[in-house]
């Protein structure tokens, strides 16, 4: 029996009502907009009941003045079907407003989400509640700005220089 994404979405709708705010399909890719408070629950359900074992990537978008709420955190999940046509990929989105930059961490669901969430935190400053070790992963630990935010000037090297000089002083 081949499994269809519709089956997954319908099951989500019946078992976790009021979690899906929107379903979009574009060029064969399905995106679900999930209520922010429910993201961990949805991920857990998808992993447990539909075997979405692999969190491919977690990333974020800053829409700045184009959209409210300002940020979106995006999850790419993959399911390795026993049959070839049961391989499945789904994209989940949650909206995060500037006033409340917090999302539940999905590390309890997939430990592979650890570094991915750290990267989102590093680049966008979105905090993952329940993450075991939320530190910067790419930029120096005392670095202050969040470089992938759209209101950050990508050529602004002052903060990097400051971290570099501190590292020199302290011999790191």
């Amino acid at each position: 029996m081949s499994l269809d994404l519709h089956v997954v979405i319908d099951a989500l709708k019946t078992n976790l009502p009021d979690t899906i705010l929107d379903v979009k399909t574009f060029r064969g890719e399905t995106t679900l907009l999930i209520k922010k408070e429910k993201i961990r629950e949805v991920c857990h359900y998808l992993k447990k009941d539909f075997d979405f074992k692999f969190v491919v990537d977690i990333t974020a978008v800053d829409y700045l003045e184009f959209k409210r709420p300002r940020f979106e955190v995006i999850y790419y999940l993959h399911r390795f079907g026993p049959e070839f046509d049961e391989n499945m990929r789904i994209r989940l989105k949650v909206e995060v407003s500037e006033e409340d930059l917090k999302v539940d961490s999905v590390v309890p669901v997939w430990s592979g989400a650890n570094w991915l969430e750290r990267e989102v935190y590093d680049m966008f400053g979105i905090e993952f509640v329940g993450h075991p070790d939320l530190r910067r992963i790419l930029m120096p630990e005392d670095y202050e700005p969040f470089p992938l935010r759209k209101d950050f000037d990508v050529r602004d090297r002052e903060a990097s220089k400051k971290s570099f000089e501190r590292a020199l002083r302290e011999g790191e």
């Binding site: 930029m139 470089p147 990508v154 050529r155 090297r157 903060a159 990097s160 971290s163 570099f164 590292a167």
Partner: protein
């Protein structure tokens, strides 16, 4: 420098020279590079060490991954500010006298990465002796840089102690 073949004084002959010229002659023909490869340029540097281009023809084939055994730092690749302090530290661990080659556009001036994380030229924190442009430079260009370092050692040298 003078050559004397007088058989009374030892048979095989001898050379007279200045001690500093002799030391610099030895230094320039036995450079021990410390390869600091951080990106694509490092591949080209490996090519220089390997048999096709063969840096050992210039006496510089003993790539040392310990800075304490090296006297020529070849910085090849993009240097970020986070890496810069490490690079600087490794440079400081090298014994005197020492020389630095900046290989590739990235090390010379940031290359294609005009961004918040990348150092716009390693001369912000290292004394560079020879700059090699190119993205990446051809191996011949790096060999030319090593030859320029040799020339510099020959002409300027370094204090004996």
């Amino acid at each position: 420098m003078g050559v004397n073949m007088n058989s009374v004084l030892g048979g095989d002959g001898f050379i007279t020279t200045k001690l500093s010229a002799f030391a610099n002659w030895g230094r320039k023909n036995s450079l021990w590079p410390m390869p600091f490869g951080t990106a694509c340029c490092a591949i080209e540097m490996m090519g220089v060490f390997a048999s096709r281009f063969d840096l050992s023809r210039f006496g510089a084939e003993v790539a040392r991954f310990s800075p304490r055994q090296a006297d020529l730092m070849i910085v090849s690749g993009t240097i970020t500010y986070k890496m810069a302090s490490v690079c600087r530290r490794i440079y400081e661990q090298m014994p005197e006298p020492k020389w630095v080659i900046a290989m590739g556009s990235c090390t010379c001036g940031g290359g294609p990465f005009d961004s918040y994380a990348v150092v716009q030229g390693i001369d912000e924190f290292l004394p560079v002796d020879v700059y090699v442009g190119g993205c990446p430079p051809r191996p011949e260009a790096l060999i030319d840089a090593v030859m320029k370092i040799q020339k510099k050692i020959e002409m300027q040298g370094a204090p004996l102690v």
